[in-house]
């Protein structure tokens, strides 16, 4: 293949990717943005979602994401600290990394099945914010571990040496010299996970249910925005509402993504 043909094809490939992306976003935002007025966000769905707004689903999404973050962050940060500060390459660390890598590759529907049989049935939590949140926590755990590890990696060795030479114990060194400097990276991982949780559907629908009623406790079933969007579209309930929900989803994800990548580029990448 000659150089010029190859160059044209590659340019076309890159451009078509951008074009399709724009088409997708444009289509949904064009139809969906007009729907988004204050009432949309302040009312819950009425008559199965044909009318009203998406308030209960927004609350559900926030609650689910919050539970996931609360459980996954200590586990993820603790794992990263252990891997980076308390061991070197050994059988234990290889096993842990293998487990984390594999967990990252498990499809969301499998998480849904697991969450259903384990949290909903076995632990008797029922379809609830708790079941959904814990399942999501398992899904985002690898991300938190990975980004925290990357953040810890960028911290110069001298910080540790200094801390130890001043009589610091291992844990004191972690708390005072390492973690405070790894915080931006940890935060980025959390934000990335928030973005992922907002869009997650398959695992949520099997564990948190699809109730449109405002939740009253962690054990209430709830429908998230992504699930709501899916149901509206698939059952053909209301295209208008679907577009509105979809547009909200896209805007949220856009926002979260931009913030996360901005943080990533500013604090984590340029250090190394």
């Amino acid at each position: 293949m000659t150089q010029s043909i190859a160059k044209i094809l590659i340019w076309m490939a890159a451009l078509s990717t951008i074009v399709v992306m724009v088409l997708i976003l444009f289509q949904i935002l064009r139809e969906g943005l007009p729907i988004l007025h204050l009432r949309f966000f302040l009312e819950s769905p009425k008559s199965m979602g044909r009318e009203g707004g998406i308030l209960s689903t927004m609350i559900g999404t926030i609650a689910l994401t919050a539970v996931a973050i609360i459980f996954a962050t200590p586990l993820g940060v603790g794992t990263a600290i252990f891997l980076r500060e308390y061991t070197r390459e050994s059988r234990i660390s290889r096993i842990i990394r293998f487990g984390t890598d594999c967990l990252a590759g498990v499809p969301s529907i499998i998480f849904g099945l697991f969450g259903f049989v384990f949290f909903v049935i076995y632990l008797n939590m029922g379809w609830s914010i708790l079941s959904g949140g814990l399942t999501l926590a398992a899904m985002i755990l690898p991300t938190i571990i990975c980004t925290t590890e990357e953040a810890i990696k960028t911290i110069p060795y001298s910080y540790r040496e200094v801390s130890y030479s001043l009589g610091g114990t291992k844990w004191q060194t972690v708390i005072h010299a390492i973690l405070p400097n790894a915080l931006p990276g940890i935060f980025t991982g959390i934000i990335l996970s928030v973005g992922r949780s907002i869009g997650e559907t398959a695992a949520v629908i099997l564990t948190a249910g699809s109730s449109l009623v405002m939740p009253t406790s962690l054990f209430s079933p709830i429908r998230t925005m992504a699930v709501h969007f899916y149901i509206l579209a698939r059952e053909g309930i209301s295209m208008e509402m679907a577009y509105g929900t979809g547009a909200t989803l896209i805007l949220l994800v856009l926002f979260v993504n931009t913030v996360a990548n901005g943080l990533l580029n500013r604090y984590v990448r340029h250090r190394s």
């Binding site: 000659t2 150089q3 160059k7 340019w11 490939a13 890159a14 990717t17 951008i18 088409l23 997708i24 289509q27 949904i28 200590p74 586990l75 603790g78 794992t79 891997l83 308390y86 096993i95 842990i96 487990g99 890598d101 594999c102 967990l103 590759g105 498990v106 499809p107 969301s108 529907i109 499998i110 849904g112 099945l113 697991f114 259903f116 049989v117 076995y122 398992a138 755990l141 690898p142 114990t169 291992k170 844990w171 992922r196 907002i198 869009g199 997650e200 559907t201 398959a202 629908i205 969007f229 899916y230 579209a233 679907a242 896209i250 994800v253 856009l254 979260v256 993504n257 931009t258 990548n261």
Partner: protein, 284 residues
Amino acid sequence: MIVEIKEKIIEKMLLLIALSSISILALIAIFIFGEGLPLIWKIGPRAFILGERWVPSQGSFGILPMIFGSFWVTLGALFLGIPLGLACAIFLCEWTPPWAAIVLRPTMQLLAAIPSVIYGFWGLIVLVPLVRNYLGGPGLSILSGSMILGFMILPTIISISEDSLRALPPSFKAGGLALGATHWQTIWRVLIPAAKSGIVASIILGMGRAIGETMAMIMILGNAVKMPSSFLDSARTLTTNIGIEMGYASGDHRQALFATGVILFFIIMILNSSAIILSKRRMG
């Protein structure tokens, strides 16, 4: 002394925390297998995997149509995703003018972040009617699914392939050019073969992603439970089978869906392990 005891306790606790990811993986395997394996045993692995009829109301649980569905959709997705993804990776690595990088890179990151239900929705609204009108068939088809899925796995293929290309020593490129090859020839004959294992790893991971995709496929594939015979046919994948029927399944039917999950779990584990091994080898 107290301090030393405290440090020991903290170390043990961190070890326990660090074992959480592998524990969760084990739990997933235990519970999914626990629910699904009995059914596979009951009707026999051959009947389950090679059976062509899936009629839960009659107790027929053959998942061959779904295996074929997953296979063809993934194949189609790779057919679109590999050339497109590789091209974009090459573009990002070798040919980007500064302005293009500013546009293309955020686009890639966005591609990965958009929820799959959005892709499914757009496919349903735009792609499916197009296929129906110009190519025939119900529109809800393997072809439509492949196109959307191919697009969805682009970020995976692009990011890992790009990393592999960037990790190559600059001497490779310099050497190729010094021998009188054009830029493109250097890329095609020197760089890509050198980055081979990373690129293959990215493809395997893309495959894993494709096989595991559920929501977008439910919305686009049409979900006909029969052996697909052409790209314009509706079909089900292993994932959509679970996703659609889990809501109302019970008893044997539910167990059969878990059994489908068992098969899926195996396939994904094999794929991901190969990718991990491949990328470890690439790292040295």
